[in-house]
């Protein structure tokens, strides 16, 4: 229904009439309208947590994220069409975009928690882990944007791994030469 009429144009009353069920029952199963677009949010986050925890503890944050990137790249490539449809829906509504960022923020917290365990102990450990997690999530978001903008044609794993390399080794690139 969202795909046909648009997210905002579809009221919860209409959805309930179509199921059919009562609005009251709807809100017992979904926290709000947005939850329809991001199903099983808790479960996905929990699984992400487990994935992070499963990586060997002596692996660096970057190795952790390379592992996770390859895993998710495969999964997202598998479900490409579904994800593209979801993204088309999200793109048309500021609320949904906001909710997507909120979810990313949850994931970023998990990344930071995973990183802090792998940091050298010391004063700046938590701070550094947090900054790195922020940078990682930033690159992931940018990468996903490009993949979506490209209709999922690009190789997601390559993009992700390249972005991680930039973070690990620094963003070095030839400076723009004036008049060269």
């Amino acid at each position: 229904m969202f795909a046909e009429r648009g997210y905002a144009a579809t009221t919860i009353d209409e959805i309930c009439a179509a199921v059919p069920t009562s609005k009251r029952t709807f809100f017992r199963y979904f926290a709000d309208k947005e939850a329809l677009v991001f199903p099983n949010r808790r479960g996905r986050l929990a699984r992400f947590q487990e994935l992070l925890a499963a990586v060997r503890p002596d692996q660096s944050p970057f190795d952790v994220f390379r592992t996770v990137t390859s895993l998710f790249a495969a999964e997202y490539t598998e479900n490409r069409e579904q994800l593209l449809a979801q993204q088309r829906l999200i793109a048309q509504s500021p609320e949904l975009l906001a909710r997507e960022r909120e979810i990313d923020s949850d994931w970023e917290r998990e990344i930071a928690a995973s990183f802090v365990r792998r940091m050298p102990p010391g004063e700046s450990g938590p701070w550094l882990a947090d900054v790195l997690a922020g940078a990682v999530m930033g690159t992931v978001r940018a990468t996903m944007r490009h993949w979506y903008a490209d209709d999922g044609q690009a190789d997601l794993e390559s993009l992700g791994l390249e972005a991680i390399d930039y973070l690990e080794r620094g963003f070095v690139f030839s400076r723009q030469e004036p008049d060269a």
Copy 2:
């Protein structure tokens, strides 16, 4: 009123009664309730655009951001109390947190636009600029979180510049030695 009763607990009707004005007039001046907490959003973004545009075009993205960081660090330190109060307000409401992320997202777009002009021309230019902008905004957000968590005691400029150094040179740090 938000500070006294909390954001969610203060209705627009109450605000209008206090001013006093009508609810209809309120919505002619503010797009929504959240706009009260983030005043002059357009103006701030426009000023940020100008700051980015004012930096010499041969400066690298990192130099751009060092300049901007120093500027904002000074300004934020100046208005420390006000910012802390605003942050306390934002922290209590998911809606406001979402709005803050939305604003950050706008700023990230501007950063990316500024970076892409300073990138070496070529295929991966826009993609790299976007990824870097994402990483930058990620570190900025993490940095601000730490500054807020620290009640604005830390030296914001040092934190910001340090984070930029990490991005430019790569996140290198001694690996955790097992049993060393």
